[in-house]
């Protein structure tokens, strides 16, 4: 018995890996015990189940996405710091090569798929229905399924760290490197299944929000009167719907290669690894626009609100969003200019890549023109937006440098590339999502985040960012390649790497300030009693903060682009307050535990496939089928909120 126990510990708990794993195991155990004990002590299990795990309310789902995104930012950031520590000086042996491979793989995967994606979905969920005057998304039940698939996908990915071993073939997971013959641990299976499960959720979110925006807008809100954030979500959803199926196929085929023994991407028996690389980037390139375009939407809202001006060039903003979502499909091969596709193909993809700069430039100039002669207030959302502009301009310029196919033979896979994509993804997505978080935080929670701590976070993060990534452009030109776990001293890369590591730690301190800011503000943050703390322009600011679960007691009729602003200018805000005679019963979806259970079933099936435990896999899949069938036979899934209850809530809020 002890022998088998030891074998289990060595194989699955990675007991031989040393203190880092032991400490993580203990910390995870302590955290879990702590959570369970707290919930039990405060008798909160029922509350957790009823209010959160079974909710179909888009605002709560958004908050859960936000919490998950911040947690994953911590995990991904810790990975980043480990990497930078390893690279701080030549010849370091803080991590060995295998661990370094695992850490850059999980860093990339987590940051793109389990940090950026839930962060944008958080804002989709929190903002879109409120901005378009809807009571919920088109498919609330499906929305809950999307969240739980994301959640359990992320969980599956993260447990690989302490259970079985992490993936180590890079976030792109190129075969034949990721084929069974070269990578036979369970880590790669974790990667494939976790991405597959959360990817299904992402496709569902794309469909859900596209239908919501097309069909659920308040009367009078024509598409050209729709707020720009909502437009950016529409554009992102189009890309999600068209891009994610390619990822599904790429992952599924690689999975078949690894589990069933097919030969899609092997070197032997006719397989072609380039096919995976094409499929992966047909998803992967649009993916970076999927995460950055909602950030563009945030900037459009923030700039207009804090410059107190109508967005300059609304129509060109919309056109730019839609052209980005189309051009994003004609650029994927720029990820492998050096793989021998030939000059014609490279030229096409180089030109298409540079073309993306045009609509993006249009947007940046529109934001600048909106700010021009505006009465700008430097609140936190605006600060991050302004920091975004120079950052993205540099990132865009280096992107065009990379798009020059012949020159790319020099930069390819070098630190120049690393610096470029961190610049656009941090400068674009992270700055944008933080701006959005600060901007809509009062709407979610009813209080503002503390400005002073937020400014500390801002300066640490921003200065840290430039200190970290500017040296990497130089390192790229000096020949340092990505994914190197160490380097000899005589390459002359030591100083710049050391500076870069300092920058990474400054960013880490910035993140700690954000955490401190949130904790401090829960108690001391300025309460938002008006519902309109920033003097906003769009419909969500006409509602109290936090918003009642039915959103609008009476659905507004929209006549202008910046509806709420126009009403305020004309002193007609009373029009958006409910009147007693207008209140009617509201149709709402019922909570359901099944989306959560379906997530559990997917998790079980995923775990089964990771370790080739097929009994578990089949049980999990059966669970999925059963939850689907139960849903098909469900008819009584909606209820009415009665006018008395609405009147009660609205008068408590002082709106009746």
């Amino acid at each position: 018995m002890p022998e088998s126990l030891r074998q289990f510990a060595d194989t699955y708990l990675m007991w031989q890996e040393g203190p880092m794993i032991w400490i993580s195991d203990v910390l995870i155990l302590l955290t879990s015990v702590g959570i369970v004990a707290t919930l039990t002590y405060f008798k909160k299990w029922k509350w957790l189940w009823r209010e959160w795990l079974t909710t179909v309310d888009h605002k709560k789902i958004g908050i859960m996405y936000l919490i998950a995104a911040l947690l994953m930012m911590f995990r991904g950031g810790a990975d980043g710091l480990l990497m930078r520590t390893q690279l701080a000086a030549p010849g370091m042996h803080f991590l060995d090569a295998e661990h370094y491979d695992q850490i850059f793989t999980t860093h990339g995967t987590i940051m793109i798929l389990f940090m950026a994606m839930p962060f944008i979905f958080a804002l989709f969920n929190i903002v879109v229905p409120l901005q378009i005057g809807a009571r919920d998304v088109a498919f609330p039940y499906l929305n809950a399924i999307s969240f739980w698939l994301f959640f359990f996908g992320a969980l599956l990915f993260n447990i690989s760290f302490v259970f079985g071993g992490s993936p180590d073939a890079g976030w792109t997971s190129y075969p034949p490197l990721s084929e069974l013959g070269f990578d036979n641990g369970p880590g790669e299976n974790f990667y494939l299944l976790a991405l597959q499960i959360s990817g299904i959720g992402s496709i569902a979110t794309g469909i859900n929000f596209l239908v919501t925006i097309l069909k659920m807008r308040a009367p009078g809100m024509t598409l050209m009167k729709t707020p720009l954030f909502t437009w950016s979500v529409l554009s992102a959803c189009i890309m999600i719907i068209f891009a994610f199926p390619a990822l599904t196929v790429a992952l599924a085929l690689l999975m078949l290669d690894r589990i069933v023994g097919t030969h899609f991407f092997t070197i032997l028996q006719g397989g072609n690894p380039m096919m995976f690389i094409n499929l992966f980037w047909i998803w992967g390139h649009p993916e970076v626009y999927i995460v950055v375009v909602p950030a563009f939407g945030v900037f459009s809202e923030v700039v207009a609100t804090f410059a107190r001006k109508e967005t300059f060039g609304y129509t060109s903003m919309v056109a730019a969003l839609l052209s980005i979502s189309v051009i994003s499909y004609f650029v994927w091969a720029h990820h492998f200019f050096t793989m021998g596709a030939g000059a014609d193909v490279n030229t096409f993809f180089a030109v298409a890549t540079m073309a993306v700069g045009i609509p993006t430039g249009v947007k940046v100039f529109n934001w600048l023109f909106t700010m021009y002669r505006g009465r700008i207030r430097m609140s936190l959302p605006m600060l991050w937006t302004i920091a975004f502009v120079p950052c993205f301009v540099i990132g865009g310029a280096t992107g065009v440098m990379l798009a020059v196919a012949p020159a790319d033979y020099q930069y390819h896979n070098s630190y120049f590339l690393i610096a470029h994509f961190h610049q656009v993804l941090i400068g674009g997505v992270v700055f944008g999502m933080l701006a959005g978080m600060y901007y809509w935080w009062p709407k979610m929670f009813g209080f503002k985040l503390d400005e002073r701590l937020g400014r500390w976070a801002f300066w640490f993060f921003n200065i840290g960012f430039y200190v970290c990534f500017m040296p990497q452009y130089a390192l790229g030109f000096m020949g340092m390649q990505r994914r190197m776990y160490t380097y000899p001293a005589d390459m002359g890369w030591g100083t710049l790497n050391f500076v870069s590591t300092i920058g990474a730690y400054l960013m880490g301190i910035g993140f700690i300030f954000i955490v401190a800011q949130v904790l401090y503000s829960i108690k001391h943050g300025e309460r938002d009693l008006t519902g309109d703390p920033w003097d906003g322009r769009t419909l969500e600011w006409s509602l109290p903060s936090p918003v009642p679960h039915y959103n609008f007691a009476v659905i507004p009729t929209v006549t202008d682009r910046d509806m709420w602003w126009v009403l305020k200018e004309e002193g007609r805000t009373e029009e958006l307050r409910p009147k007693k005679e207008d209140i009617q019963p509201i149709h709402m979806p019922k909570n359901s535990g099944r989306p959560f259970l379906m997530g559990v079933a997917f998790f079980v099936a995923g775990l089964g496939f990771v370790f080739n435990w097929y009994v578990l896999a089949v049980l999990g899949l059966l669970g999925v089928v059963v939850t689907l069938l139960r849903r098909s036979f469900e008819y009584d899934d909606e209820y009415y909120i009665q006018p008395e209850e609405i009147e009660h809530v609205e008068s408590a809020l002082g709106r009746l």
Binding site: A138, I207, N208, T222, P245, T262, F264, V554
Partner: protein, 214 residues
């Protein structure tokens, strides 16, 4: 566009009630929104098959000395599969028509016929795969066979899922009759079924016909 979506709500912002001029499944705006959502799902599924077709086209000549398409494909077999599936799509259409004519018995009858045809399609496909495997043409043999079995098998598993789904809707129509909700379900499951038919037309052409001709 704006007219369509605004038509969903009255002055108080409530979704307006049934529009009897429309077909049964579209009368309730709540149900018609779901139909739009399903169309978008079909778009994603189409792209999924598109990627599988692209993979197949890249790998179709990569036989690694194993059986080629021409040696493998059995013309009477895939012709029979094609006829059966196309017919089932037609009977599925008749079920939708009967649904719009509010004829519950006919809906049940045509759904049953569709399911039976679907089952025989799957049966023939399993038989075809079984025969191939016995001849040593397994999906592990070559990249071509990996791509072939995955593309055709994905379609086959879609059909199998469709059969289970259609059966569950048959039970619901039998129990609840034709309401706006069950009508939407009958409509959507048939949409799915027609979509599988369209995919099969491409498989028939790109995989089987090209396979025996080229």
């Amino acid at each position: 566009m704006a007219v369509v979506e605004n038509a969903l709500r009255d002055a108080h912002g409530h979704l307006s009630g049934a529009d009897l001029a429309k077909p049964l499944e579209y009368q309730d705006p709540n149900q018609s929104v779901r139909i739009l959502g399903f169309w978008l799902f079909l778009a994603t599924d189409m792209l999924l098959f598109g990627c599988l077709f692209a993979t197949y086209l890249v790998l179709r000549t990569h036989t690694d000395g194993g059986p080629t398409a021409r040696e493998l494909f059995d013309i009477p077999g895939f012709t029979a599969e094609t006829f059966i599936l196309l017919t089932s799509s037609f009977t599925g259409g008749l079920a939708t028509l009967a649904m719009r004519n509010r004829n519950r018995k006919q809906v049940l009858a045509w759904l049953t016929v569709t399911i039976l045809l679907g089952l025989s399609f799957v049966g023939l496909e399993v038989q075809e795969f079984y025969k191939d495997v016995l001849e040593g043409a397994t999906m592990q043999r070559s990249a071509f066979l990996s791509a072939f079995f995955t593309l055709v098998g994905t379609h086959g598993s879609h059909v199998s899922l469709g059969i289970v789904w259609m059966f569950s809707i048959l039970l619901q129509v039998a129990k609840r009759g034709l309401t706006q909700v069950t009508a939407r379900k009958v409509f959507i499951v048939n949409l799915y079924w027609h979509f599988l038919d369209v995919v099969w037309v491409f498989i028939f052409t790109v995989v089987y016909l090209f396979g025996v001709v080229m």
